[in-house]
């Protein structure tokens, strides 16, 4: 009997698939087909069209150009300015999110009256859709009738209304602020989960060894949060690099080229200039850069854990 069971469980290499394999295949097949249609095919097809000059306003003229679109994009100084701005935006956002989320997670990890209410309130920004969030910040930042100017003026912090999004030196930081406000809750939850998994014994042992709260934070809490931090940093970096909604609604890339990030340039090239070839090439470059960056961050954090 034992022999029979073992023989049945043994995988058949090169033979006719058995009932179990066929059933498994049939059960997975619909999902595989859907994934092929909605994920794999668009990825492959977008790479394919990035090898052609495809401009919708010139139908019938779509020559194969190989990697020329990639060369064109990479040799355009405006693209590199956009890369700089994207990097600045991502670093600003991820740093702020990491610090604020850590502080919030530490707070919510303590027992105090109203903790549950605060936890629920914290989720509000996360629950607001990106477009609604952007429209809300547009009203807040408006230089003529915005809530920010109104508040600062009433509190006597300013004598006259300030220019916010229209000041190119402030634009990216203000958009980053709106992004951080939306993203901090999720990062807080991820870090809070990490905090909950730290054994209480570690803190108790450190206390016995005479470590004060600051020492315990740097030598117990922070090292234990590395994997959660890794997740937050990778996820938020990818979100920040690819982010588009706030740029579209708050500034439309302006003023001037102050908020021309890579995602914005992809939108303009693809959907305004209707140049699908170069647009796809840019999108591919952004995807590859995001992937490479995520890989580097994960490797770096994995080495330290």
């Amino acid at each position: 009997m034992t022999t029979t069971v073992a023989a049945a469980a043994k995988p058949r290499l090169g033979g006719v698939p058995g009932y179990d394999e066929r059933s498994a295949f049939l059960l997975v097949a619909p999902l595989a087909v859907v994934l092929m249609a909605v994920a794999v095919f668009p990825i492959v097809y977008s790479f394919y069209i990035s090898l052609f000059t495809i401009k919708l306003t010139r139908p019938g003229r779509t020559p194969f150009v190989g990697l020329d679109n990639y060369i064109t994009v990479l040799s355009d100084p405006q693209f590199w300015y956009a890369v700089e701005r994207t990097a600045f935006f991502a670093v600003l956002c991820v740093s702020a999110i990491a610090v604020l989320a850590l502080l919030m997670a530490l707070l919510l990890n303590e027992e105090f009256p109203g903790r549950r209410v605060l936890s629920a309130l914290l989720l509000v920004p996360w629950a607001i859709p990106y477009v609604a969030n952007a429209l809300m910040w547009k009203w807040i930042y408006d230089s003529n009738y915005g809530a920010l100017n109104g508040l600062l003026y009433q509190l006597d912090f300013i004598n006259s209304y300030m220019v916010w999004l229209g000041d190119s030196d402030k634009t990216l930081a203000l958009i980053a602020n709106a992004f951080v406000w939306k993203e901090v809750p999720l990062a807080t939850i991820l870090l809070l989960v990490g905090l909950k998994t730290i054994p209480a014994d570690l803190h108790a042992a450190a206390k016995v060894d005479g470590a004060n709260a600051v020492s315990r934070f740097f030598h117990v809490t922070l090292p234990s949060l590395k994997s959660s931090f890794g997740l937050v940093v990778v996820y938020e970096t990818m979100m920040a690099i690819r982010h588009f909604d706030l740029f579209f609604i708050l500034t439309e890339g302006g003023p001037g080229d102050a908020s021309h990030v890579v995602a914005w340039r992809i939108y303009v090239e693809t959907f305004r200039n209707l140049s699908f070839g170069t647009g796809a090439a840019m999108a591919y470059l952004l995807a590859l850069a995001t992937l490479a960056l995520a890989y580097v961050i994960i490797r770096a954090l994995a080495r330290k854990i």
């Binding site: 919708l56 306003t57 010139r58 139908p59 408006d142 230089s143 003529n144 009738y145 006259s160 209304y161 220019v163 916010w164 999004l165 229209g166 000041d167 190119s168 500034t251 439309e252 890339g253 302006g254 003023p255 001037g256 080229d257 021309h260 303009v268 959907f271 305004r272 200039n273 209707l274």
Partner: protein, 442 residues
């Protein structure tokens, strides 16, 4: 048992045969010419005056018996939506077209000339800039939907408080009067312009350029915005000085859209604005504006070497090659275009409906003498001055197949100059270089 099986098999065979015949017949029927002709006329617009359009369509269908399939999509995405539909060969017979897209769509073969349809090209009652705006390479591509122009508006109450007797006639006077108003503490930013990156931006710029005697491009389509004489420099320099030196125009103008200007000017905090002329009605509506009764139109101020010229724009009914491919369909489409863009039952009914409902302008000269229109305008504006300014309107000289792509670069360059990030010359050289590059590629 055998009998049951054979009946089942027979039934299955019969079913399959019937289904195959049915599908084949349906397929053939869908390809047949008469079926195409029997399809309703497909009419696409952006989402404006939807109820007015529907009501006028219902009257058309009742009168002619011609069925119309009406669809609309938001203005902000209209160009991209329609191009995607054209590429996907979606059925469209007639549609609203902006003058800005005419060369692009005509070159791509998405809209067709209408010169062979006499009723559509009877321009005896149409303003010249409207005819120009519907014409590309000598061929006319439609008939008028609505037209308007960029107007110079002032707040009469604020001028009176500042002791200013008459509105400015030149851009130098605008700056001087604004300075007086600012110095008297009546307004922090007396001038209010929209310089945000949106579709209106080119109209604001062109109004400034024309009134300063400049141009973006010459008659052959070569860039001339960068030329010190006859280019766009005086207009852009005025804006830069207004923001950077005289501080009569807020630096936030680069984030202020056309709608925001309307709201802000309605608050009474500003003395001068450029707005589409049809906004005059809202500005003088007590339910929507604090300055109702005090928002007045003046002729566009002139530059040192300029005139009172302004920019006019045109939206028209275009016709697709699909509509023209079938004689019956073409005839029905022309009837529909006439009903909306021309006269319906002997009157410019739809133009008057639009004017009554939303204050829209029109490209029909005789309507300025229409008692109903004159009475409507008189309630919030000087009808003769409105007509005079319209007669000085000119079509945009940047409307080319590469306009859309150049427009983004040009808008960015102007904004950078206004913010003081680049000089006027650098901005206009950037704009001109992009224009020349795109012209070569086209």
């Amino acid at each position: 048992m055998t009998t049951v099986t054979s009946i089942r098999a027979l039934n299955r065979r019969n079913f399959l045969k019937t289904a195959a015949v049915g599908l084949g017949a349906a397929s053939l029927a869908s390809r047949a010419g008469p079926a195409l002709a029997a399809e309703p006329i497909s009419f696409a617009t952006w989402s404006a005056a939807v109820d007015t359009v529907k009501s006028h369509l219902a009257a058309f269908e009742a009168k002619t018996g011609i069925k119309v399939a009406y669809s609309n999509s938001p203005w902000a995405q209209y160009r991209e939506t329609m191009i995607t539909k054209f590429i996907g060969k979606a059925p469209i017979d007639t549609l609203w077209v902006s003058d800005s897209w005419l060369p692009e769509w005509a070159e791509a073969g998405w809209i067709a000339p209408v010169d062979q349809y006499k009723s559509l090209t009877d321009n005896s009652d149409v303003d010249q800039f409207c005819i120009d705006s519907m014409t590309y390479k000598g061929k006319q591509y439609g008939n008028t939907y609505y037209s308007d122009y960029m107007a110079f508006i002032y707040n009469a109450e604020l001028l009176e408080k500042a002791g200013i007797k008459a509105p400015p006639e030149t851009w130098a006077e605008v700056a001087a009067q604004a300075k007086t108003i600012k110095d008297k503490g009546l307004a922090q930013w007396p001038v209010l312009f929209s310089m945000a990156q949106e579709s209106w931006l080119i109209e604001f710029m062109t109004a400034m350029v024309y009134s300063n005697g400049g141009r973006f491009a010459d008659d052959k389509g070569n860039a001339m915005m960068q030329e010190p004489a006859g280019g766009a420099a005086p207009a852009l320099r005025w804006l830069v000085d207004a923001v950077q030196k005289q501080q009569i125009l807020s630096p936030s103008c680069v984030e202020t859209g056309e709608l925001a200007v309307l709201k802000a000017f309605s608050s009474g905090e500003h003395a001068f604005a450029l707005t589409p002329k049809y906004r005059l009605r809202t500005l003088n509506d007590p339910a929507q504006s604090k300055i109702a009764g005090n928002a007045k139109i003046a002729l566009m101020p002139s530059g040192e070497k300029g005139s009172h010229a302004t920019v006019g724009w045109m939206r028209f009914y275009g016709m697709t090659p699909r509509a023209q491919a079938d004689a019956t369909r073409a005839a029905d489409t022309v009837k529909l275009m006439d009903w909306f863009g021309g006269k319906a039952d002997g009157e410019y009914t739809f133009q008057k409906m639009l004017f009554r409902d939303v204050g829209s302008g029109f490209g029909v000269k005789s309507l300025f003498s229409d008692p109903e229109i004159r009475a409507g305008y008189a309630s919030y504006g000087d009808v003769d001055l409105i007509g005079k300014q319209q007669s000085l309107a000119r079509k945009k000289d940047v409307v080319t197949p590469w306009f859309g792509e150049w427009n983004d670069v040009n808008g960015t360059a102007w904004q950078q100059a206004i913010m003081g990030k680049v000089t006027v010359e650098q901005a206009l050289n950037t704009s001109a270089a992009k224009w020349t590059e795109l012209k070569k590629q086209s």
